[in-house]
């Protein structure tokens, strides 16, 4: 059996594509590890259009529910990660981490991205021992502690807000000379009395024996190395596209993103489309991912029906 389309991913892009593909009655399979995408860990999303405020968990639930509403018109393999895509006669063969296989005429890659690590000494050794990745999950452990959030983008600012009810002092360690998150969130964060932003600070090492005791950073202007005593570190330094299973088939840019045609979402290889954070799209946003994925799936539909 050969699918017409396999959609890879269960974030906003994958679900949008799934809903459209099902309604078009394309013979489609959606493969996803879980539903919701990277916003899953957000305490409150205030820019998901049509909803004033929603938690990441609720967004994930809603997306899954919307997709499953069409489940008689789309196959869904959840709890599965695609590990390989091969070119076969007339299409592609996909293999998952559970060794399930599917053949398909076309593929839409919506695999999103994952968290970037700092890549400094101490990071692996102290992971979970005061160095944390999920502020909404683990903030309560940092009650009455001094905490550093590394990264001044939206995710870093959100981590500060998650920590606010618990930590008694928060530092933002930002590598450039300004914060990058949305102004509305910046205002909220900068108004906090127990917050200090350290600009032009390049993190060099996470310090601690059995538990985080501080960080060492370099002042990018003076070159001076400094140590800051903290009892916890949250890392929010951007993301890396999930391309391992597809990187030998399609063109990838210098940032590890799949190069796509902005009019159609086509990749460099005929039969493969991509949308959302895994691509070289200019802005990584839930709302943009949804639109791009829909553009992609409609273009797949045209492609299949012109043949």
């Amino acid at each position: 059996m050969m699918y017409e389309l396999v959609i890879i991913g269960g974030g906003p892009a994958g679900i949008a594509a799934g809903v459209y593909a099902a309604r078009k009655k394309m013979k489609t399979l959606l493969i996803a590890d879980s539903f919701g995408g990277q916003s899953l860990v957000s305490a409150g999303i205030e820019n998901w259009i049509g909803t004033k405020m929603i938690t990441g968990y609720e967004l994930g639930k809603n997306l899954e529910e919307h997709l499953r509403h069409f489940q008689k018109d789309i196959d869904i393999w959840d709890g599965n990660l695609v590990s390989r895509v091969e070119k076969i006669d007339g299409g592609f063969r996909l293999t998952t981490n559970k060794n399930q296989m599917a053949d398909t005429k076309t593929v839409l890659v919506c695999s999103g991205s994952r968290r970037r690590r700092l890549g400094v000494p101490g990071e692996d050794r102290l992971d979970g021992k005061g160095l944390a990745w999920c502020s909404i999950c683990d903030a309560p452990f940092f009650k009455d502690k001094v905490v550093a959030v590394i990264g001044g983008g939206n995710a870093g600012l959100e981590a500060v807000i998650d920590l606010k009810p618990y930590a008694n002092k928060i530092y933002i360690i930002q590598r450039s000379d300004k914060l990058r998150g949305d102004p509305v969130t910046q205002e909220k964060v900068l108004a906090m009395p127990n917050l200090t932003v350290i600009y032009n600070a390049l993190t060099q090492e996470i310090l601690g024996d059995n538990f985080v005791s501080g960080i060492r950073y370099k002042d990018a202007i003076s070159g001076e190395e400094k140590t800051l005593e903290v009892g916890g570190v949250f890392v929010e330094v951007g993301s890396l596209p999930n391309i391992d299973f597809i990187k030998d088939l399609v063109k990838i840019d210098d940032y590890g993103q799949i190069v796509t045609d902005a009019r159609t979402q086509k990749t460099s290889l005929e039969g493969i489309w991509a949308a959302g954070d895994v691509t070289d799209v200019l802005y990584k946003q839930n709302n943009i991912s949804v639109g791009d994925a829909i553009r992609g799936v409609l273009n797949v539909f045209d492609y299949l029906h012109k043949k």
Binding site: G128, K129, I136, F141
Partner: protein, 78 residues
């Protein structure tokens, strides 16, 4: 039936996902909220040697985070 214990915080998304997974597969479990229960928090740290939730204990075996495939293996879920 295996004894399953989960250590959680109320806001933790991966804790909710783990509990959803247990519910869907008919797994009964004992839950400890380590934001409130400091004794359970200490117990969790002693067992897992780290500070991150969820921590899941299945018949004495410790799992950190929601890793569906290792939980499935430990619980014999297909």
């Amino acid at each position: 039936m295996k004894k399953v214990v989960i250590y959680t915080t109320p806001t933790c998304v991966y804790c909710k996902m783990t509990k959803d997974y247990f519910d869907k597969n008919g797994v009964t479990y004992e839950e400890h909220n380590v934001q409130e229960d400091l004794r359970a928090r200490q117990e969790m740290v002693d067992k897992s040697h780290q500070l991150g939730v969820p921590v899941i204990e299945i018949d004495g075996e410790i799992f950190v985070g929601f890793d569906r495939s290792s939980l499935a293996k430990a619980l014999g879920i297909q």
